[in-house]
Symmetry: C2
Subunit: 306 residues, 2 copies
Amino acid sequence: MRAIDHNTITDAAIEQMSTTPDPRLKQIMESLVRHLHSFAREVDLTPDEWLKGITFLTEVGQKCTPFRQEFILLSDTLGFSSLINQLHDRRATETGNTKTSLLGPFYRQDSPELPLGECIVKTPRQQVVIYGKVTDVNGKGIPKASVEVWQTDEDGAYDLQKESQAPGAVPEMDMRGRFRTDANGNYYLRTVVPLGYPIPMDGPVGALVTAQKRHGFRPSHIHFLIGAPGYRELVTALYTRGDEHLESDTVFGVTDSLVMDVKQDDPNSPMKGYPSIRYDFALALAAKDGSGRVGADPSQITKVGA
Amino acid sequence: MRAIDHNTITDAAIEQMSTTPDPRLKQIMESLVRHLHSFAREVDLTPDEWLKGITFLTEVGQKCTPFRQEFILLSDTLGFSSLINQLHDRRATETGNTKTSLLGPFYRQDSPELPLGECIVKTPRQQVVIYGKVTDVNGKGIPKASVEVWQTDEDGAYDLQKESQAPGAVPEMDMRGRFRTDANGNYYLRTVVPLGYPIPMDGPVGALVTAQKRHGFRPSHIHFLIGAPGYRELVTALYTRGDEHLESDTVFGVTDSLVMDVKQDDPNSPMKGYPSIRYDFALALAAKDGSGRVGADPSQITKVGA
């Protein structure tokens, strides 16, 4: 008979899980149990605090709907999603590839296919051009690469957040599109500069972020999902230089190499008469470890509340 | 601008939470973030695995009802609840107190007050006597201590699990009662020897336990909640020696000092003609860190499925 105490309980739990047939599940659960137990010992967690944690996690789960994923939001605000992206980038078999950033909850699988140069926004106020090249890590252009792009409008709202549509209706596609690079790997399209916005603050995760006195904002950004046969799919986002929340993104998506500049008069822009943004994306060769879409499951698409 | 990578993301997250006004919340979240990030780095968690985790946690949250607390069950099966109990015991200001064990999901606040010697089971097959003393850590009896007891019947079911009642009806009280020790701290009551039972296996936690090839059983046990003014409330359970799952309790509640023996002919038993169990409970003086009821919130009461 074992005399369980606050130290031996950890080995007792891991020993009981040692029968797990799947070696990866076994490894993950062992490590998780060790780290969770170390956390509780380190802070000397009390029963009252434990119960608050149970209540919080239950509320997070119950806040989830087909249009809102509060657990992904929790993962995002703890820097955990960003960490998963960094680990994914590190597993690339080549260096020099563009960094991953959060896919976020507003991705839609069936965005419209558009010809190069088209504008993805139905009612733009001030159009800008985004252009550049999709290449391998050696700078060689990749023809016919798929470039999916989505973003908020100039007021910080995604199409999924528009309140004009009827209740329960599938929101009309806007501020998103899918392009193909040309024979040299070039892409170009028109859009608007998006506005930053707060994460959903009306649930348990918003309450936690408020209790931490964090502002809850994401800086202005444009999402990209880029793929080509034989290459690692790239989920990333470009962040607008000058945004006041660039240094304090609530979900830790910003990294220096993903900040974009809007230029008023770039002689290389393929479409004249608009401000322009140039960004080249470098794809690593395909790896065997899955898509890298942190949050990409279509069932995870979130609709932010008011 | 920060160049976030798989190491710097942790400090970035903690730095953003450093504005938390409540020092305890700040401490807990910092430690949690450090340990969760260490876990992800240690196992090199992939985006696909992360999404499986998100889906699992969402299912756990959505399985919770006013009669079922799947997150407590998850905590229990990871040894986390037991650890919280051990940490609680360690914070006692005195040594020699009886160890805490899991309160579990079947506690009910309003169990009937009964006179000493009464039987808590409405239709017993084979009655046994439980008796002993509630004392301080020096063995001095505590008069008028409250002794709440609850357990399964001889077939392994709590009153809350009985299927005979009408749907939605509040299940009738059975196999539970509340007693007061006499002037010398003695208690005695009649009950039956309970049977072990599996945790609820029809939810996501049951699926995890199955994937780990664990049997999912708890050994036979009787719950106690013992209190007296000026003393630390004691939540514990006594486990039946000889139960086949004593060494492999799915929720890690068993510890050597909490195993009870059923004696056929104990000359000290206060009620003759029945097998008997003697157990003395020692309470430490009250501390300032809350109740120690891991799972005791009445809203957490769980009703196990089929």
